[in-house]
């Protein structure tokens, strides 16, 4: 399982990459692995305002449909349209395939997220699915 050092992580298995006040959000290698082959990602709408913890999107695999939560608050400014036709990108390159990008309204929320080491430990204690 791959965990990148320079990213932040949520307990709901999203990764967060921050670039110039914008948070790119995707799901982790751990998450894509437990979901199995991903067949569909329901992308959120651009310009939607989200609060931390909001359920904003759905991801469907051959095994299950799971919600994607927003790990931060802000406004969605971009979604990854490549996923519309090729949802499997998430399986192949989970850390390249961001799902959406949020302009942060409260950057201090980032401090509540886990770093790579904490996330690795979290996954171990979460148990294996």
């Amino acid at each position: 399982m791959e965990i990148l050092k320079n990213l932040k992580y949520s307990k709901t298995h999203e990764w967060i990459r921050v670039e110039d006040g914008i948070a790119y959000v995707g799901i982790t290698d751990f998450a894509q692995h437990s979901l199995g082959d991903i067949v569909y990602v329901e992308l959120p709408e651009v310009d939607t305002e989200v609060s931390k913890g909001d359920e904003i999107s759905n991801i469907e695999s051959v095994k299950a449909a799971s919600p994607i939560f927003s790990p931060v608050s802000g406004t969605i400014i971009k979604v990854n349209e490549d996923l519309e036709d090729d949802a499997e990108l998430i399986n192949h390159k989970p850390y390249d395939a961001f799902i959406y990008a949020v302009e942060l309204s409260d950057p201090s929320e980032l401090d509540e997220l886990m770093d790579a080491d904490q996330y690795e430990e979290f996954c171990e204690t979460e148990g294996t699915h």
Binding site: Y40, E45, N58, E60, S61, K63, A64, A65
Partner: protein, 446 residues
């Protein structure tokens, strides 16, 4: 020992003792005593096979047949014999829906053909494998709309939507925080100003029916413009027969097309069973209820059929499902598929034109003899609301005496505004002689 009950009393006893209870009643210990029925059901004694046959036969003989001018969503069209023949084949008749899907290639192919025909008829991109009836289709389309428009909780419906569709919608959304708001009608068509005034952020979409419940053709140009401008979902309900000669759902810019397939090869029976269709623009594909069959090739390159989106509600989405429809109305949908295939494009057009002409002929003749007047002076399809100068009940009962079902009295269904109004429908099956008999009978009591 009962012939159709597989467990002997010894087996029952042994199963009960295995799980550690004394009697079957013990399994229902959780049910409060006060609500238990402490007596036998009030049903007659058992009968022999022959006695049952005799009883059913005498019941069926109470049915009266007559020349039918009944419509309101269910019409007396000609059904080619081949329809009954094909759907009675045991391969179709006994296996109503494929659970071991891919092993039932024939069933899947028939569903795929059904979907293709519905797409062609409505002009839309995707159709599911069918729903129970047109009313369920309206409700499922509403769910799709509510799931597509964020933070919405309201469905607008036209006043002239079928009253049963309104009832089913009400039942469907009972207990949920969903509002069904009616757009008033104006002279037999949906009122544009009322639609404008009721559009809000909370609205997911509009259900409008054309031909509407009164048989009138709605002009939806303005309606679809308003729905588009406000980014709402346009759901159009149509008698499928009308799509063969009039603007189809796509041409009105429908996002979702729905309707009841009864006019296509399904007898009126006494109100059912029927089948519903639902088709949509591709962007709604993932929100469609039920199942969708797809065509593919196997490893040797041979054509084959699969459940492309199969029972997603059961297997994949589970508690996150947006619909609880997991099946389809396969046998009735097959009847419609066979009907459409047999009739072809020109056959359907022919049926539609003859049904419409008959209605216009009847309305003209009734007007000529001053029996009353058409309720709303608007273009109509194969049925119309006619206000008799006489008490509608008298007219209907006089027609019945002559062996004619004269139509549906509208006042009991729609209220006082419709006093003495009768919804009269014709199909290609009604001959000139039958229509003339209708007119003559009415003339006799004026």
């Amino acid at each position: 020992m009962h012939p159709y009950i597989p467990h002997t009393s010894e087996e029952v006893k042994s199963m009960l003792s295995d799980i550690g209870v004394n009697s079957i009643d013990d399994l229902f210990a959780d049910i409060p005593e006060v609500i238990k029925l402490r007596r036998h059901l009030n049903i007659p004694d058992p009968m022999s096979e022959f006695e049952v046959y005799k009883e059913l036969k005498s019941l069926s003989e109470k049915n009266k047949t007559a020349i039918s001018f009944l419509g309101g969503g269910s019409y007396d069209h000609i059904i080619p014999v081949v329809v009954q023949h094909i759907i009675s084949r045991s391969e179709f008749y006994t296996s109503y829906t494929p659970y071991q899907a891919e092993i039932s290639q024939g069933t899947l192919q028939s569903i795929f053909e059904f979907q293709s025909l519905i797409c062609e008829l409505t002009g839309l991109d995707v159709s599911n494998a069918s729903l129970y009836d047109g009313h369920t289709a309206a409700s499922e389309a509403s769910v799709m709309a509510l799931n597509s428009v964020k933070k919405s909780d309201t469905i607008l419906i036209s006043e002239y939507l079928h009253p049963f569709t309104k009832q089913v919608l009400k039942t469907y959304f009972l207990g949920l925080d969903i509002s069904i708001v009616e757009i008033k009608g104006k002279d037999g068509r949906t009122d544009i100003d009322d639609l404008k005034s009721k559009i809000s952020d909370k609205v997911a979409g509009l259900i409008v029916q054309t031909p509407n419940f009164l048989g009138i053709l709605e002009d939806l140009s303005e309606v679809s413009k308003i729905i588009r401008e406000n980014k709402k979902v346009l759901i159009i309900s149509s008698n499928p027969l009308s799509l063969s000669i009039l603007k189809n759902s796509r041409e009105w810019d429908a996002d979702i097309a729905i309707g009841d397939l009864q006019p296509f090869g399904i007898p009126q029976y006494f109100g059912g069973p029927s089948a519903g269709y639902i088709a949509a623009k591709e962007e709604y594909l993932r929100k469609m209820p039920g199942r969708i069959v797809g065509q593919t090739v196997d490893k040797d390159g041979n054509r084959g059929f699969v459940l492309t989106l199969q029972a997603r509600e059961q297997h994949i989405k589970r508690e996150r499902a947006t619909s609880n429809i997991c099946s389809n109305q396969a046998l009735m949908a097959l009847a419609s598929t066979v009907y459409m295939s047999i009739m072809g494009k020109s056959g359907l057009k022919d049926v539609a034109i003859r049904s419409v002409s008959a209605a216009h002929y009847l309305a003209d003749e009734l007007t000529k003899i001053k029996a009353g007047k058409i309720l709303f002076n608007q273009p109509y399809f194969n049925e119309f609301a006619f206000v008799f100068n006489k008490d509608a009940k008298t007219v209907i009962s006089e027609l019945k005496n002559k062996g004619i079902f004269g139509g549906i009295m509208l006042e009991p269904l729609l209220g006082e505004k419709y006093k003495n109004a009768v919804l009269i429908a014709t199909t290609e099956k009604r001959t000139k002689e039958e229509i003339d008999l209708y007119v003559k009978t009415v003339g006799g009591i004026l």
